[in-house]
């Protein structure tokens, strides 16, 4: 029996020792003369695993960078873990990346709740949390969270763009709003309100309706909005409800100017199920080239993307916009790190990320540029409106810049 106990002790000791981490000492963790370590979490499993392709595509792009000699002679060592879109797993994996793998920075961690879970931690540890993959507005808060930065136009930005267009083209608009009763919906609503200004908002908005994401339908909200006499419909709904809204408005013969948020602008998951005919005339805001849109077939950015996809990410779907998104943002990080020169301290990485000037990315709409400053951590703030012509989104008019008043 004593051998049994001693064996138990021995195996327990081995188990403990196996977890002991050798301490490493370096000036900037994750940076050597030949390597930059970059950490990422993505949902490769679980309910949001459709987004996992972004994490894979990022790795595929860094492979290309390394094949071409890396960044200032340093190869990118990209470490990505599955967090299944569950915040506790994100916390665990991010702590592993920061404390054990000793990455220099975190890049494109995906999801709003998941990034919220590590927001405080990253800023306490003073490790860059760069270009997070979520549209929430809170990532642009350099004063309180100087180590976190977003990437895509946030929901408030988009709301302000619609407001600018409405004020210019429909000065007598009667606006009806439908929004999801959570942070996402409220962000959009706030953007529209801010863009209109207090006086205009009071005058123009005739009705606001909300729904819960758990509601089965939004039919009654649409009927209420119609009865309010609104002639402009600001539709802040996720795909499932966007389909219902488009259909119901069409069925009851309500024909407002219908602004549909970018979240639900997908042809495949929203417009086709709702009916292409009923969708005709919808207006949304875009910032990227839609890769399924034939107008970009001969565009250099699209061609380069296609060549890269075929060579480095042959498993990736060529009609999945996420792969274009990943390509854009990976190029932006590469650009930022190049701009750092030989000073790859975490402070300088944030400083350079906060001083991007007119950076163009191949799959942004022509004219849209990345701009940041020490007080502006929202890289993309321009969008262009597009109208659905029954087949595709046709961009029209000028570029809107939400950073300008």
């Amino acid at each position: 029996m004593t051998t049994m106990v001693s064996r138990l002790i021995l195996s327990a000791l081995v188990a403990v020792l196996a977890f002991v981490v050798p301490a490493t000492a370096a000036d900037t963790p994750g940076v050597t003369a030949t390597e930059i370590k970059i950490g990422n979490t993505n949902p490769y499993s679980g309910p949001a695993s459709a987004y996992g392709t972004i994490g894979k595509a990022l790795g595929a792009y860094f492979k290309k960078v390394n094949d071409e000699g890396g960044i200032n002679g340093r190869k990118i060592n990209y470490i990505t873990y599955d967090d299944a879109y569950t915040p506790p797993k994100t916390v665990e994996m991010v702590r592993k990346l920061v404390e054990q793998d000793q990455v220099a920075l975190l890049f494109q961690t995906l999801g709003t709740p998941t990034n919220t879970a590590i927001h405080k931690y990253m800023n306490q540890q003073k490790v860059p949390q760069l270009f997070v993959a979520t549209g929430a507005t809170k990532w642009n808060d350099p004063k309180n969270f100087p180590w976190t930065m977003g990437f895509q136009p946030n929901y408030q930005t988009e709301g302000r763009i619609y407001a600018q267009y409405i004020m210019k083209n429909f000065p007598d608009a009667k606006i009806g709003i439908l929004y999801q009763n959570d942070d996402y919906g409220k962000d959009y609503r706030k953007g529209l309100h801010d863009g209109l200004g207090e006086a205009n908002a009071k005058k123009m908005i005739v009705m606001e309706q909300t729904y819960e994401v758990t509601d089965p339908t939004i039919d009654s909200q649409i009927v209420n909005l119609k009865n309010s006499g609104a002639n402009v419909f600001f539709d802040v709904t996720i795909p499932k409800f966007a389909v219902q809204a488009i259909k119901k408005a069409h069925d009851i013969g309500w024909k407002p100017t219908h602004f549909l948020n970018n979240v639900s602008s997908s042809l495949g998951t929203v417009l086709k199920p709702a009916g292409l005919d009923a969708s005709r005339g919808l207006i949304t805001a875009l910032y990227m080239k839609e890769i399924t849109d034939p107008q970009w077939k001969n565009d250099k950015g699209f061609q380069d993307w296609l060549a890269w996809m075929k060579k480095y990410y042959p498993d990736g779907a060529l009609d999945d916009q996420s792969n274009a998104y990943a390509y854009n943002v990976a190029i932006l990080l590469t650009h930022t790190l190049k701009q750092c020169g030989n000073d790859l301290s975490r402070e300088n990485i944030m400083r350079q990320a906060g001083s991007l000037k007119n950076v163009e990315l191949p799959l942004l709409l022509p004219g849209i540029k990345v701009n940041t400053s020490a007080s502006d951590f929202a890289p993309i703030e321009q969008e262009q409106l597009a109208k659905f012509d029954g087949e595709r989104w046709a961009t029209f008019g000028e570029l809107y810049d939400a950073s300008k008043k």
Binding site: V16, V21, S45, T86, P87, P88, V91, E92, Q100, A117
Partner: protein, 320 residues
């Protein structure tokens, strides 16, 4: 295993657990804190499923209830965190007991389905009470700092705090299950009618077991809220409940130590699976699962018991 050997083993494991913070990094300690949290949750589920024979696919719901109780009490009313754990436990005890009453009419698979519904519903319910729960954005908390000027990192403190609660709850569970009550609970599992004929109030015992089980899982959830310092509905999806069930089966049904083995499994094996293959981590996880069940059909605790019994037999044979 003889009682003496068992006592020695427990003492050794406990000594190792107490010494752990001096060996490992804060990150590893955080992982072991999660192991301790899972172990409490698994012990709770094991009382219900392993000892009492009621299958629950919905313990993630009680875990969530505990986590949100702590988060809301700290966030809205600045209640001291140790107190919130007690409140979470009591609330889950009541909730579990109340759920246990209608569950009396459901046996086996039907109960599994009813509890499964609970697991499915909880993320949506959490989003519904947005004013308190913060909706899909959840609630951000601060990690508690060590009290009394102890020279510990927050991770080390939380680890000891969790470990202390684990020890108390395990001792309580052992005393509960080893005595009269435990025999009644097991008798209901083995043959409810016979147990009733012997004078066991099966309805009361089943509901009570449900309540105590939920309380354990709720306390675990509350501790997890402190360890993660964040709660959100996405953390408590259906998969969590299924993970708990995997944990008790792998660890060993109707075994107290099994909860610890199961917790180690559900904490570390998915990570190892991911290290082996990024492309198909769940396939690797599945292979691990099947492998474990094939080699150790009674769970890890069952396998250890068997090996120990064989060693003891050999010992007596050698002496004879």
């Amino acid at each position: 295993m003889t009682p003496r050997a068992r006592a020695v083993a427990v003492a050794v494991v406990l000594a190792l657990a107490v010494a752990l913070p001096f060996f490992v990094s804060n990150f590893r300690l955080f992982q072991f804190t999660q192991v301790a949290v899972y172990a409490i949750a698994l012990l709770g589920l094991n009382m219900l499923t392993g000892y009492n024979g009621q299958i629950s696919l919905g313990h993630g719901a009680f875990y969530a209830l505990g986590a949100y109780t702590t988060a809301i009490l700290i966030d809205q009313w600045s209640v001291p965190y140790p107190l919130t754990i007690v409140v979470a436990g009591i609330l889950c005890l009541v909730a579990g007991f109340l759920f246990g009453i209608p569950a009396l009419r459901l046996e086996g698979l039907y109960l599994a389905l009813a509890t499964f519904a609970l697991a499915l519903a909880i993320p949506q319910i959490l989003k519904y009470f947005e004013h308190w729960t913060g909706g899909s954005q959840g609630i951000v908390l601060s990690k508690p700092n060590p009290p009394w000027g102890l020279k510990l990192s927050p991770d080390q403190w939380l680890y000891y705090f969790t470990l202390a609660i684990l020890v108390v709850l395990f001792v309580l569970a052992r005393n509960l299950l080893a005595g009269r009550t435990g025999r009644a609970i097991v008798a209901i599992r083995d043959n409810a009618i016979a147990a009733g004929a012997m004078g066991v109030n099966t309805a009361l015992y089943k509901s009570l077991t449900f309540g105590v089980s939920a309380a354990y899982t709720g306390v675990a959830g509350a501790l997890s809220a402190l360890a993660i310092a964040f709660v959100a509905p996405d953390a408590f999806n259906v998969f969590l409940s299924i993970t708990f069930l995997v944990g008790i089966v792998i660890g060993g049904l109707a075994s107290i130590s099994g909860a610890i083995f199961g917790a180690l499994f559900i904490q570390f094996v998915p990570n190892w699976a991911q290290d082996i293959s990024k492309a198909a981590p769940w396939a690797i996880y599945g292979i691990f699962l099947i492998g474990f069940m094939y080699i150790m059909p009674f769970g890890i605790a069952g396998a250890i018991r068997r090996v120990a019994a064989r060693a003891a037999r050999r010992g007596t044979a050698a002496r004879a």
